[in-house]
Symmetry: none
Subunit: 235 residues, 2 copies
Amino acid sequence: MQRTSSNKSLILIVEDEPSQMELLSFNLNAEGYDVLKAEDGEEGLLLFKEHDIDLVLLDWMLPNISGLEVCRQMKRSKNSKDCHLIMLTARGEEEDKVRGLDMGADDYIVKPYSVKELLARVRSGIRIRSAAKGADTLNYGKIKMEINRRSVKVDNKAISIGPLEFKLLQVLLESPKRVFSRSQLLEKIWTENLEVETRTVDVHIGRLRKAIKSVSDDNLVKTVRGFGYSLDDST
Amino acid sequence: MQRTSSNKSLILIVEDEPSQMELLSFNLNAEGYDVLKAEDGEEGLLLFKEHDIDLVLLDWMLPNISGLEVCRQMKRSKNSKDCHLIMLTARGEEEDKVRGLDMGADDYIVKPYSVKELLARVRSGIRIRSAAKGADTLNYGKIKMEINRRSVKVDNKAISIGPLEFKLLQVLLESPKRVFSRSQLLEKIWTENLEVETRTVDVHIGRLRKAIKSVSDDNLVKTVRGFGYSLDDST
DNA sequence: ATTTTATGTAACAATTTTGTGACAAATCAA
DNA sequence: TTGATTTGTCACAAAATTGTTACATAAAAT
């Protein structure tokens, strides 16, 4: 089985029954997705607003707010291009399917479902969305870069960096754990201006680190004394 | 219930059995879709290349080329982002579903299917795609554009902008959050006159901003220093 | 322990990028 | 035609980025 890629997509599960939740989150984790859990509709909507979710698995039967209502609110709030919503339900009633899909759900799976099929539908959903976005994303560890949005997130929180730091991070992200010498980085990034001191790289690495540290304590940007720098999430 | 848009969506049916074909095309026509028919994979691929198809209904069992192969070829071709593909099959085998979805199908319906459910899935598929396509209204955040009426509203209040600013906003609205470089915008908007300074873009962005600001305080048009501009409603 | 070397980083000046008013040319409407 | 609107460019101001230096730390070598 081919693994989709190294990008972690963020999936929100809204499901009130613990055993179902466990089953889903275990399998999705095993496939390499990041998972958020919500036990009812309100919590689900809250998490949905706070995070940049790629795909939602939404149970139809929920305490308080119904799944259908949650679906409608989610689809109304965000740009629907960005998030795929799969309804998950015990009912097989055709009318329900039709209502769910017409309410904005992108897919519909009937319980009891096969885990393999569910995972295949999840992959398909993720694929649809990333095609719509333009699918230019790099990630490693807690860092997620969306190139055509020029956005970088660490721990799902956006950081703001200048163009050179962006390019620098991009080069590092394209080959995580690889050590780049200062002159290699100069060649790759300062393509126009060749008259630059190697120490300049240090300064920009510092600026990149500062930006990352402003939202997360981990130091992903490692110094390899005598050689250069690399991205590395090991201890 | 909102109608998706006034333009008819174009659906391609690839199905070798006449009775099935009849059933599908009759119902889809009744719903207001334009329908193209193909009786085997080759004809299907041909029509797919020639037309700007919004959605494909693809039978699994076909003479000559298998549906799976047709699916892969369609999804490989360039405009696949814009087209939703639903596999249609007599088999209920789980492995087949998984293979079909992993091969690029966006959805999967098992025969015998309910016509209502099929239509709902078709609507859902069209809706997913129509975000990218030329729907005659574009929305993002507080901005609402009605293309054929040439009207733009922010916070439900109309603003008045010139043709160029309109086009500019349209391009931005079609891919919210995506950052466009000045030269990309020049290519997309100043298609006739190539002899234009990139700084001209800045001026028009400024004019667009002024128009928006005249009715709303939010600044949706963001500058991404060193790269270009984008529409973005995040803080 | 001391020296040498490599790296981190604050601070500053130079450079680049962007925002915007002004204005003339071009276009359009009547 | 006239008058209004739209468009492209420029000039200058404002803002952000960038490269360098100088000094502080840290690691390695002696």
